[in-house]
């Protein structure tokens, strides 16, 4: 079977760094984090006080009121990001293309704010009923369904939920489907809106969220910072994109996945390394071809040491020549959307020849001794890059891209 090359022709992003892809890229390039104290006073009793919230996102600017009734915040992010991606790609829909377009999204926790509101009604306010649209708003596949309905896309549509790797698994599956000819086009990515009181209390109990900010690979790192948002990309065969004169923003060239089969929260370097190796093999490139890695880089003690060790084991001496950064230091850890935000960052970095930094970096850690592009973006042309996602439960997904 002939494998098709897969181009990305549209990237849409809604994040703590702004309401569109331009603002997202501008902040990444400037090394400017979107991390700030919670907007809602209701969240002031939490042990951590900062997050990467998508401030200023006004649903009414994107949807009619009647539509908003059906859309939890995470699904709103999905639809808005997909619209941006499709607009940028300049697709002209035909009936056939609509029938053969897949929509694959990643989402970890679904409609948390809807669920929280329902529980407050029941358990705190003593009401006897919850909103009848709660179920269709909460389901984590709602974002994919709304994209499909709005754009009339009737190909394979589904959602992958693999915790913090969700969007990378979704993008990898979409890439494979387009490459193999199972879909003529795909809209893929992820979205997440986890800022409800109930789930934030659960994160507090895990003791992995930083009290100040996210400092990946820095010796004084103190944990992750939660984020929200969505990123969607348009994937299509390179030949088709070129034939219709579309701007190719980059190519997805490989996908690797593995499971640690070890621990529900502690990462294992060998599982992560296996996923990176498989992504390189799938892309058909040697480790030495890679110039940049957008790391999973959560800023927790455990992840950053384990990821460093995994990168060293895959790349050997070449690890010393690799540029590695964690953009979570700016857009936060958006869980099921993280892999999509980070693939967007990786593609934009290669497209513009500018590698985004690891922001908030304070001091080197001998156990994370990689070139992590501290604090300032770097002008550097790179042909091949990886984007890493390593989830709780040991579920690893790595995407390989080229400029």
């Amino acid at each position: 079977m002939v494998q098709r090359r897969v181009a990305v022709t549209g990237i849409g992003v809604v994040s703590a760094l702004g309401g569109d892809t331009c603002q997202f890229w501008k902040a990444l390039r400037e090394g400017r984090p979107g991390i700030a104290p919670f907007e809602s006073p209701e969240l002031s009793s939490l042990r951590f006080s900062r997050a990467a919230e998508t401030r200023g996102f006004d649903p009414c600017a994107h949807f009619q009121e009647k539509q908003i009734d059906f859309l939890d915040r995470f699904a709103q992010f999905a639809v808005v990001a997909a619209r941006q991606a499709v607009l940028q790609s300049g697709i002209e829909w035909t009936g056939e293309l609509r029938e053969n377009t897949a929509v694959i999204t990643g989402c970890c926790v679904g409609g948390q704010s809807t669920q929280d509101t329902g529980f407050v009604d029941l358990y705190r306010l003593g009401r006897n009923r919850v909103h009848p649209l709660s179920i269709p708003r909460v389901m984590s596949s709602a974002g994919a369904s709304h994209i499909s309905m709005e754009m009339g896309l009737s190909g394979p549509v589904y959602t992958v939920s693999t915790a913090c790797s969700s969007a990378s698994h979704a993008l990898g599956q979409a890439f494979w489907m387009v490459r193999a000819g199972q879909a003529d086009m795909a809209i893929a990515g992820g979205s997440e809106a986890p800022f409800s009181y109930g789930i934030l209390k659960a994160w507090e109990a895990m003791r992995v969220v930083s009290p100040d900010t996210c400092r990946p690979f820095s010796r004084n790192r103190s944990g992750m910072i939660l984020g929200e948002g969505g990123a969607m990309m348009v994937l299509e065969p390179l030949e088709a994109a070129q034939a219709r004169g579309a701007t190719v923003l980059g190519e997805i060239t490989g996908f690797g996945m593995s499971s640690d089969a070890a621990h529900i929260t502690q990462p294992s370097a060998s599982g992560a390394a296996k996923a990176m190796r498989l992504a390189l093999r799938d892309a058909g490139i040697p480790p030495e071809a890679v110039g940049y890695i957008n790391a999973h880089g959560t800023g927790t003690i455990a992840n950053d040491v384990s990821e460093t060790s995994a990168i060293r084991s895959v790349f050997g001496a070449h690890a010393g020549r690799l540029a590695v950064s964690s953009t979570k230091s700016m857009h936060g850890h958006a869980l099921g959307a993280a892999g999509a935000l980070e693939l967007a960052a990786t593609l934009l970095a290669l497209h513009h020849g500018i590698l985004p930094p690891t922001a908030n970096f304070a001091e080197p850690d001998p156990e994370c001794d990689l070139d992590v592009i501290p604090n300032r973006a770097r002008c550097q042309a790179v042909e091949y890059a990886l984007s890493n996602s390593f989830a709780f439960g040991g579920l690893n997904a790595v995407l390989a891209v080229r400029a």
Binding site: R47, A205, M206, R207, P211, H263, I264, T265, Q266, A302
Partner: protein
């Protein structure tokens, strides 16, 4: 020699970690009891409930063995009483 608070902390550890109570002593190391970082967080949660205290993240990070856990809880309980 062992006071009531110590006994209670040891009992919480044993119950939460699902190990026989006699296995948990003030000198036990976490590795001996098979306590990893997630188990540790679980035990802190049980201790917070048992003693009606809040263990700050910073203090939690310093705890490496059972003795430190007992002394940490004691400090928080005394501060609350004082």
């Amino acid at each position: 020699m062992s006071d009531q608070l110590t006994q209670k902390v040891l009992a919480v550890i044993a119950t939460t970690q699902r190990v026989p109570p006699e296995k948990v002593t003030i000198d036990s190391r976490f590795e001996e009891l098979g306590i990893d970082s997630m188990d540790g967080v679980n035990i802190l949660f049980a201790l917070e409930n048992e003693f009606d205290i809040t263990i700050p993240d910073e203090a939690a990070k310093q705890i490496r063995d059972v003795r430190q856990m007992v002394e940490g809880v004691r400090g928080l309980v005394e501060r609350r009483a004082g």
